[in-house]
C-alpha cells in the first residue's frame, strides 16, 4: 500500500487485516476474533451507521465498558470518517449530557438502555438488542480520512471546572504507536485494555495492539479487581500493561505476583516512586518499566523513560525523553529557552498535538501558534520540568502548584518528590497552612510504610541534604492513608476538607 494511504487509523488497520487475516486481533473471555473477522464486523456496522446518516466530521458517542463491541464500534465510526467519543456510563448523567451537547453528538452506541438517562433526543443503538455487532460484511469502501481529521474526542477535567473535549486527529494516534522510539510492539504481544475507554491511556492500549498486528485483551472485570487483573494477565498471556501511578504502587507493594508474565510495564499519570520501580526490576529481571508522561492534549505520551535491571532509577524517576514525533520546548515566562538544567515550563509541538478543544470558549491559551518557537501548533502543558545531564527530563510539578513561602517561590510537588524518596515513606502530600499570625507554613502529610514509627528529626536532616532550608516543611503529620481520587492521584481537595472539617 502506498504510504499516503496509511495516514488514517482505519486504513492502517485494514492494511494489516489484509496482510495477516488470521492474526488474533481480540481475545476476550475465551472468544477469539481474527483481524479479518474484526474488520468485517466493523464494515457491517459502518455500513449501518452510514445508512442512518453518520458521515465525515460527525462525533459518535460510545457508552461501553471493555468488550469486542467497543472496538468494533470504534473502528466502524472511523470507517465512516467520523470521530468516536467514549462515554463513562458511571459518570453523573448531568455531566454526560453536557458532554454530548458540547460534542454535538447525534448518535450514541451503548451496551444497554442505561444511556437513556442522558441521551434524550439522540439516536441510540443498543448492542444487546441487535445483531449489528455479530454480522460480517466483506467489503466496505471506508472514508479516506486525512491525517488532520479528528479520530476521537476525550474529555479532561478543566481547571476551570467545565470538562474540556480534546479533539485528537488520526496522525497523532499513528505517531503514538507506529515506528516509535519507546516501545516496539510485536505481533506476538498481547496488550491488556485495562484503562477505562474514556481515559486516554486506552488509546495506547487499543491502537498499540491493533495497528501493530498484536492482540488486544479487553479487561474482563467491571471494577478494578486484583484477582481479575491477575487472572486476565495469566490466562491470556498478556505481555504489555499500563497502570496509573497509584495502582502501580499498590500492586507492586502488595500484589507483585500479578505482573509476572509481563514483558513491558508502563506506568504514569503521576510521579512514580523509584522504590517500587526497583522492586519490579529486582523481582522480574527481564522486564522493562516505562514511565509514561503526557497530557491528553498531546496524545497519551509526550515523554517516556525506559528502565531495566541495567538502568535502574537512582533518586527520582525521570519522565525521560521525547517520544518520536514530539518536539519539546522548555521555556521561561517570556518564551525564552531556559539553560540546560534550569527549571522551565514544558511546551510541545509536532504530530501528537491535538486539534484543540471542542468548546472554544474554554480554549484559553493552551493551544497557540508562535512562529518563533515552532511552525506548528504548540500546546502549553502547565508542567514544570528540567533537563538532567543525560538529556532526560525531570518532572518538577505543576506550574500552578507554586507557592510563596518566606519570600521564596516554591513548588509543593518538588518538596513532595524529595519526601517520598525518604526511607519508610510510601506517599506524601505537601500543603500550605495559614496561621492566625498571617504566616504561611509548609505542612507535610506523610504516609509511612506499615507499622513503622517515623523519626521527624532524621527526616528533616535527610531533606536538608537535598533541598534548601526554606523548602523544609514546618510540620510533619503522619497519616496511614491519603485519599486517592478516581484517576489514582492524591485527592488534595478531599484531603483538605477532611483535615479542616
Amino acid at each position: 500500500m502506498p504510504p499516503n494511504k496509511m495516514i488514517s487509523i482505519h486504513k492502517v488497520f485494514e492494511h494489516l487485516a489484509r496482510q495477516s487475516p488470521n492474526g488474533l486481533a481480540i481475545r476476550f473471555s475465551g472468544q477469539d476474533i481474527t483481524y479479518k473477522d474484526l474488520n468485517e464486523r466493523a464494515n457491517y456496522l459502518a455500513k449501518y451507521l452510514q445508512g442512518i446518516g453518520v458521515q465525515h466530521s460527525d462525533i459518535v458517542a460510545i457508552a461501553f465498558s471493555h468488550s469486542a463491541e467497543l472496538i468494533i464500534s470504534m473502528l466502524a465510526i472511523l470507517k465512516c470518517g467520523a470521530a468516536y467519543l467514549p462515554i463513562d456510563d458511571a459518570s453523573p448523567a448531568s455531566r454526560n449530557k453536557a458532554i454530548l451537547e458540547t460534542a454535538k453528538v447525534k448518535v450514541i452506541i451503548s451496551k444497554d438502555a442505561s444511556c437513556n438517562d442522558y441521551s434524550n433526543g439522540l439516536k441510540s443503538l443498543i448492542a444487546n438488542e441487535s445483531s449489528l455487532f455479530n454480522s460480517n460484511l466483506e467489503e466496505f469502501n471506508s472514508y479516506s480520512s486525512a491525517e488532520d481529521d479528528g479520530a476521537y474526542v476525550m474529555f479532561t477535567s478543566g481547571s476551570t471546572g467545565a470538562p474540556k473535549g480534546v479533539l485528537v486527529p488520526h496522525r497523532a494516534v499513528i505517531r503514538l504507536v507506529r515506528e516509535t522510539n519507546y516501545i516496539q510492539i510485536k505481533m506476538s504481544d498481547r496488550i491488556l485494555q485495562f484503562a477505562p475507554p474514556s481515559f486516554d491511556a486506552s488509546t495506547f492500549e487499543v491502537w498499540g495492539a491493533l495497528l501493530n498486528s498484536a492482540t488486544l485483551v479487553p479487561y474482563s472485570g467491571t471494577v478494578v479487581d486484583p484477582n481479575v487483573l491477575k487472572s486476565d494477565i495469566r490466562n491470556n498471556e498478556v505481555t504489555i500493561l499500563w497502570l496509573t501511578a497509584a495502582l502501580f504502587h499498590l500492586v507492586t507493594d502488595k500484589f507483585i505476583e500479578a505482573l509476572e508474565p509481563l514483558r513491558v510495564l508502563l506506568a504514569g499519570g503521576d510521579v512514580l516512586n523509584p522504590k517500587y520501580v526497583n522492586k519490579v526490576l529486582d523481582t522480574f529481571p527481564n522486564i522493562t518499566v516505562i514511565n509514561g508522561y503526557g497530557p491528553t492534549e498531546n496524545t497519551t505520551f509526550t515523554c517516556c523513560h525506559l528502565m531495566t535491571l541495567e538502568n535502574k532509577p537512582s533518586g527520582n524517576v525521570p519522565i525521560g525523553k521525547a517520544i518520536s514525533g514530539t518536539t519539546l520546548h522548555i521555556l521561561d515566562d517570556a518564551f525564552n529557552i531556559v539553560e540546560s538544567g534550569q527549571v522551565g515550563e514544558l511546551y510541545v509541538s509536532g504530530p501528537g498535538v491535538a486539534l484543540g478543544y471542542l468548546n472554544e470558549e474554554n480554549q484559553g491559551d493552551a493551544f497557540f501558534i508562535n512562529k518563533d518557537i515552532s511552525p506548528d501548533l504548540i500546546y502549553r502543558t502547565g508542567d514544570l520540568v528540567k533537563e538532567n545531564a543525560n538529556g532526560e527530563l525531570a518532572f518538577i510539578g505543576r506550574k500552578d502548584n507554586q507557592v510563596k513561602i518566606r519570600g521564596y517561590r516554591v513548588s509543593l510537588e518538588e518538596i513532595k518528590t524529595h519526601i517520598v524518596e525518604l526511607e519508610n515513606v510510601s506517599d506524601a502530600l505537601v500543603i500550605t497552612k495559614k496561621f492566625s499570625s498571617g504566616d504561611q507554613l509548609l505542612v507535610a502529610h506523610i504516609q509511612t510504610t506499615e507499622g513503622l514509627e517515623p523519626d521527624i528529626k532524621k527526616m528533616k536532616a535527610s531533606l536538608e541534604l537535598v533541598i534548601p532550608k526554606y523548602m523544609i516543611p514546618d510540620q510533619f503529620v503522619f497519616n496511614s492513608q491519603l485519599p486517592i481520587n478516581d484517576n489514582g492521584k492524591i485527592d488534595t481537595r478531599k484531603f483538605l476538607s477532611t483535615i479542616e472539617g
Binding site: 467491571t222 471494577v223 479487581d225 486484583p226 499498590l250 492513608q481 481520587n485 485527592d491 477532611t498
Partner: protein, 86 residues
C-alpha cells in the same frame, strides 16, 4: 474455618488504617472517606491472610466489616462443600 477468626482478622486490618482506627462492624466505611483503591488494598491484604478470593465488586457493594465477614464466610463454606464433595 472458625468464623470468629475471620471477623477479628478483617476488623484488625481495617483498623490499621488511620481514618478507620475506631471503625465499628456496622459502620459504612465509604462514609469515612475510604477510596476504592484502599478497598482493593484491604482486599489483597485480607485475602492473603485468609487464603480466600472474592470479587471486588461484591466487596464494594458491602461497605461494612460485618458484610465483608459474611462475604468471606460464604466463600469459605462454598470451598468446604466443594472439598467434601470431591
Amino acid at each position: 474455618m472458625i468464623e470468629g477468626s475471620i471477623s477479628s482478622k478483617i476488623l484488625g486490618f481495617f483498623r490499621e488504617k488511620e481514618i478507620m482506627k475506631d471503625l465499628t462492624e456496622d459502620e459504612d466505611f465509604f462514609e469515612l472517606g475510604v477510596s476504592s483503591l484502599t478497598v482493593v488494598e484491604l482486599q489483597i491484604v485480607i485475602e492473603k491472610a485468609l487464603g480466600l478470593e472474592v470479587s471486588t465488586s461484591k466487596l464494594m457493594g458491602a461497605p461494612t466489616v460485618k458484610e465483608w465477614v459474611e462475604v468471606y464466610e460464604e466463600k469459605a463454606r462454598e470451598l468446604s462443600v466443594e472439598e467434601s464433595s470431591v
